[in-house]
């Protein structure tokens, strides 16, 4: 646990020192601009537009960070040869992987929290007050973070098995496919043929269903998210992360670090 913490802290420190968090400035400017603009052009639905725009931006920026930093977590250490001295310490390879994962999740959490704060400020600007239903926004942001955790685990798994460029492509592919899981399940035989439909259905149960993490619609309209759904979604994300990380650890433990 101590080893995982040390690796995680170093991963977070790398993100900070490499100025990854500068994107927050960009996000803040975007939100301020949007709040002013939306306040002028939309009458009555400013809140809905700002919440939708804000959550989409948080999700998009988070995804970019999760994929690009996630893919580099291990491969950068190998390319720069920094991993040799580290793995010659009493550190297990899976501890290194889990530490890297935890470090990036922590970075993303800080990042997402700061962006959420920006979103609340934008809401305050147009409405001059916060309401009880705004707590739903926190749930939406939390769900985005859960989604990002799965994406980071995917990025780690791919980068343990293949090159960085392919890993980015696979991550993008899985993310897009995982966003259409519901359509895959309901695909009818007469549209694709029975074999393709069966493959699609199996695939839809294997792929992480990223639609589970999107609650932008209800939240934007002030609909409360039930506690059971929060728990269920958390467990769903945790299960995927554990399976993906276990696979990554198995591959990485047998890797020759040439």
């Amino acid at each position: 646990m101590k080893n995982i913490g040390a690796v995680a802290l170093n991963t977070f420190r790398e993100a900070v020192r490499d100025r990854v968090l500068y994107n927050l400035v960009f996000f803040a400017l975007l939100m301020i601009g949007a709040a002013i603009l939306v306040g002028q052009i939309s009458i009555g639905i400013e809140e809905v537009v700002i919440v939708s725009l804000g959550l989409s931006a948080i999700s998009f920026i988070g995804l970019l960070m999760a994929v690009f930093i996630g893919v580099g977590l291990v491969s950068k250490e190998m390319d720069k040869r920094t991993i040799y001295a580290l793995l010659a310490k009493p550190v297990r390879r899976w501890e290194f992987l889990v530490g890297k994962f935890a470090g990036l999740i922590f970075t993303l959490a800080v990042n997402t929290a700061a962006m959420a704060a920006g979103l609340f400020l934008a809401l305050l600007y147009v409405r001059h007050t916060l309401q009880r239903s705004d707590a739903g926004l926190l749930v939406a942001v939390y769900f985005i973070l859960l989604k990002l955790a799965i994406v980071v685990a995917l990025a780690l798994l791919f980068s343990c098995a293949t090159t960085s460029l392919l890993s980015i492509l696979y991550c993008a592919g899985f993310y897009v496919a995982g966003s259409f899981v519901q359509q895959m399940r309901t695909l009818r035989n007469d549209m694709a043929g029975p074999a393709a439909a069966t493959v699609m259905r199996w695939l839809s149960y294997l792929l992480p269903n990223f639609e589970n993490f999107s609650v932008t619609g209800p939240v934007a309209h002030g609909v409360a998210i039930p506690g059971a759904l929060i728990l269920q979604t958390t467990l769903y994300a945790a299960l995927y992360c554990v399976v993906l990380m276990a696979a990554a650890a198995i591959i990485f433990s047998h890797k020759n670090l040439k």
């Binding site: 020192r17 720069k80 001295a85 009493p90």
Partner: protein, 326 residues
């Protein structure tokens, strides 16, 4: 003496028939052998030099020992533990070849990070980090980010992290590369200091004078195969001894032609190499001719010559195989 699984407890490193092949080609059907059937031991308290040209298999051997790559066959034990035992690293220090560390950290931060993997308290870590920085001559540069470091400075950080936890066994991959003469001397002094403290040291190098100066024994690897192991002196002694006479002749041209023909002249001095048994005859001739003898010294064939001889033999064999293969 106690015998543990047939391995003498005195050996710090036991390598048995270690082989590493890398598959290559599109379908990974072809194999390149980086290391072939390496068997050797490094005794406790010994400084052992692994010699060989670039690409000979030195780094492959060291990475196999460190568990960074996995052998195709064979096995190795360090301090009595197999290489896949992570706990063995508590007592082993490793300096990678051309070491590189997190360039966004300072030297002190990198050392502190590595120290966290051992059971030190925060105060102990701080004290150790400062002591190690001082030892490798980086005490003034400890607060600068590593991205501003030169290659030689990184090498020093590498050495500091290898000895940080006071290990019993040190494995150093090219510890002297990238250093200027002063740096080399300092690293040599550190290695000697560690040796006197009773540490076992395995280091690889292609610089033979370092090995001659530091090692109790050396092993020469060429083409993935161990070509010979022994004390530097033993390996040197295998070739015939020669003597070198340095002399000056006042008038010039007084000495018998046969001797002068073999001598090389620099200004008014002559340098002459003769076989050991011909030494006194040559000296007598020089005395009779009125030459002034400046020095008589044994010509030691260096490890370098031995090394070149082995490399040449390996290439000749490889060529022969290629030719016969056609």
């Amino acid at each position: 003496m106690l015998v543990n699984n047939g391995i003498m407890p005195g050996s710090a490193i036991e390598i048995e028939n270690l082989t590493k092949e890398y598959p290559y080609g599109f379908l990974h059907l072809k194999k390149k052998t980086s290391l072939e059937g390496l068997t050797m031991q490094v005794e406790t308290g010994e400084v052992f030099g692994l010699l060989g040209p670039n690409g000979a298999g030195k780094s492959t051997t060291i990475k196999l020992l460190m568990g960074l790559i996995f052998p195709t066959s064979g096995r190795a034990r360090l301090l009595g533990k197999p290489t896949d035992d992570v706990e063995m690293h508590r007592e082993i220090g490793y300096l990678p070849e051309q070491p590189n560390f997190y360039d966004y950290l300072t030297a002190a931060e990198v050392l502190d990070y590595f120290a966290k993997f051992f059971n030190f308290t925060a105060a102990e870590r701080k004290e150790r980090v400062q002591r190690m920085l001082k030892k490798v001559g980086l005490e003034t540069a400890g607060k600068i980010q590593l991205r501003k470091y030169s290659k030689g400075m990184l090498q020093r950080v590498g050495l500091a992290q290898a000895i940080l936890h006071d290990p019993r066994l040190l494995v150093l991959d090219e510890p002297m590369s990238g250093l200027d003469p002063v740096g080399r001397r300092e690293v040599r002094d550190i290695i000697l200091e560690l040796k006197h403290a009773g540490k076992t040291i395995l280091f690889s190098t292609h610089i033979l004078s370092d090995a001659e100066m530091l090692c109790d024994r050396v092993g020469v690897i060429v083409g993935g195969k161990l070509q010979g192991v022994g004390a530097p002196g033993e390996i040197v002694d295998i070739t015939a001894q020669k003597m070198e006479i340095l002399f000056a002749v006042a008038g010039g041209g007084l000495i018998g032609a046969p001797l002068l023909a073999n001598a090389t002249r620099t200004g008014d001095r002559y340098r002459l190499q003769v076989a050991e048994e011909e030494l006194y005859g040559a000296l007598a001739q020089l005395r009779d001719a009125g030459a002034k003898i400046l020095s008589v010294a044994q010509v030691k064939p260096t490890l370098e010559e031995y090394f070149m001889h082995l490399v040449a033999a390996d290439r000749a064999q490889a060529t022969a195989v290629e030719v016969s293969g056609k």
